[in-house]
C-alpha cells in the first residue's frame, strides 16, 4: 500500500527569497502514523506542514499525498486534511460565532454552491463537544480567550473528519488540563479511526518518553527521524537544555 505522504527531495522557497525554507526533504508517512516534529525557531517545521497540504508552492522535488501530486491536486488533498495553524487569534470584534468558524471546516467537502446541511451542523457541534467548547457555539469568536479560540480552531479541523491532521503548536495557548484533553482526543482518533497525526511542537516535554515517531528539523532539513531514544543525541545538540524540562 502506498504511503499516505511521500515527499522526495522537496524544497520550498518563500516568495521574494532565495534560500529555501525547507531543503531536500525526504519523508515517508504511512497511514495511521503519529508523528511529532520538533526543532528550534525557523527550522522549517511550519513550512513542512504547509508544503504537505499544498498551501506553499513546491520549488523542487516530488510530493504525493493520498498518492496524488500536491502540485496538481492541492485543493482536493486539503479537503481531506485538517489543519490547525500556529497562534491563530482573531480580533475582538470579529463578526463570527464559534460555530460559524467550526462549520467552515466542512465547506470544502460540501462543494461549491451547496449549503451546509443538518449533518454538517451536527458534525460541527460534535467536534465542539469533543473539545468541551459546545456551550460557546453561539458566542462571538473574538470574545473567547486564547485557549478557547485554539480549541475552536482544533474543532474546525476535526469537523472536517480528516484523514490527516496537521497541528502546528496546538498546545501553545492551552493549560495543562486542556492540553491533556486534546492529546487524549487525537490519540483516540489515531488509534480508533487510523487518522494520521502530525504535531509540530516546541514543548519538548511533550515528546519525552513518547513511543511515537519524532522528526527533528534544523535549518530547513530533517536531521533526525526515529523514536525518542534514537533522536535524543542529535536533538539535545540543537535545542537548548531548558526546552527539555517540563514547564
Amino acid at each position: 500500500m502506498a504511503p499516505i505522504i511521500d515527499l522526495r527531495g522537496v524544497s520550498t522557497v518563500y516568495e521574494g527569497e532565495r534560500r529555501p525554507a525547507i531543503k531536500d526533504i525526504n519523508l515517508i508517512v504511512e497511514e495511521g502514523e503519529f508523528i511529532y516534529i520538533v526543532g528550534p525557531n525557523a527550522a522549517g517545521k511550519t513550512t513542512l506542514l504547509e508544503t504537505i497540504n499544498g498551501l506553499l508552492p513546491i520549488s523542487k522535488g516530488s510530493a504525493l499525498v493520498f498518492n496524488l501530486d500536491v502540485r496538481k491536486y492541492g485543493r482536493e488533498i486539503r479537503r481531506e486534511i485538517g489543519y490547525v495553524p500556529q497562534d491563530f487569534m482573531v480580533e475582538p470584534n470579529e463578526p463570527y460565532t464559534a460555530l460559524d468558524v467550526v462549520l467552515m471546516g466542512r465547506y470544502g467537502k460540501i462543494g461549491v454552491i451547496n449549503k451546509p446541511g443538518k449533518k454538517d451542523r451536527m458534525k460541527a457541534v460534535e467536534a465542539m463537544r469533543l473539545l468541551g467548547v459546545e456551550e460557546l457555539a453561539n458566542k462571538p469568536i473574538g470574545k473567547l480567550s486564547g485557549g478557547q479560540q485554539q480549541k475552536v480552531m482544533i474543532a474546525r479541523a476535526l469537523a472536517k473528519e480528516p484523514k490527516i491532521l496537521l497541528m502546528d503548536e496546538p498546545f501553545s495557548n492551552l493549560d495543562s488540563g486542556s492540553r491533556d484533553r486534546v492529546l487524549m482526543l487525537v490519540n483516540r482518533l489515531n488509534e480508533e479511526q487510523k487518522v494520521t497525526i502530525i504535531i509540530v511542537t516546541h514543548d519538548l516535554s511533550q515528546v519525552m518518553g513518547q513511543n511515537h515517531r519524532i522528526i527533528v528539523m534544523n535549518e530547513g532539513r530533517i536531521i533526525a527521524d526515529g523514536d525518542f531514544n534514537s533522536i535524543f543525541d542529535v536533538a539535545e545538540k540543537i535545542l537548548p537544555i531548558n526546552m527539555w524540562r517540563k514547564h
Partner: protein, 271 residues
Amino acid sequence: MIWLAIFQRAIIGCVITGLIMGLISVFVVRMRLTAIGYAMSHSAFAGAALGVALSMDPLITAIFLSAITATLIGPVSDKARMPIDTITSIAFSLNMALAFIFLTLPPQVGLSSEVASVIWGSIITMTNSDLIYLEILFLVTLSLTYLFWKELFAIMFDRKMAEADGINTKPFIYFVIFLTGIVVAISLKLVGGILIYALLFNPASSALQFLHDIKKVIILSPIIGISSCLTGFLVSLMFDIPIGACIALFSTIIFAISVILSPKRKRRVIA
C-alpha cells in the same frame, strides 16, 4: 407630472443604489479591499471622459473601462505576486492619467456637464434605462451572493484558512473586485465618482459597530446604505446642495453615531 416622474425615479434609484452599495460594502470592508473604491471611481471617470470625447453614452464607456480595470486587477496581482491593494493603486493613477488625457481630446470636452455629472452625480438626470441597469445589477449581485455565500463567508473570515479547507478563493476575490467595478460605474449617477467610495465603506463599517454576526451585518449594511442615500437625496433637495456630497456626509454621520453608540466598546462592570 414630469417632476413627479423624475422624483420617483430618483427615489427608486436611491433605494436600489443604497441596497447594492450596502451589500458590496460588506465584502469590500471585510476583504480589506481599501483601494478598490478610488480605482473604480476613477476608471469610471476616465471612461465617462472617453465616452464624451467619442460622442458615446458616458455611462456605457464608464462601465466598459471599469469592467476592464476590475477584470485585470486580480490576475495582475497574482502574476506580479503583489497585494491587490498595490495593483489597485497603480490602476488608480493610470486611470487618472487616462481621464486627463481623454478630457483634452478633441473636441476638448473639459469638465462638460456630462463628465461633471459623472464626477459629482446627477440623480435628477437618471433615466428609466439607468434604473433597469440598477435593478438587473441588484438581482445579479443578490443571486450570486446567495449562491456563493458559503465561500464568501469563509474568505471574509480568513482567506488562508479558506484555502486550507479546500476552497478555491481566487475566483471569488476576482468576482468581488469585478462586481465592485460594475456597481461603482452604474451607481455613479447617484453619488458621482468622487464620493462613491463613501458608500463602499461606510454602510458595512457602521453595521459592524453594532453586530457580532456577519449574517446580520449583511442585512443591516444595505439598510444603512438606503438610509444614507434617501436622507442625502432629500436634504440635497431641501437645501439645493450636491446630492453626492449630502449622501457621503450622511453616511459618515451614521458611521460616527454608530461608533459613539456601539455596544462593542461599552465596558462591562464586573460585580
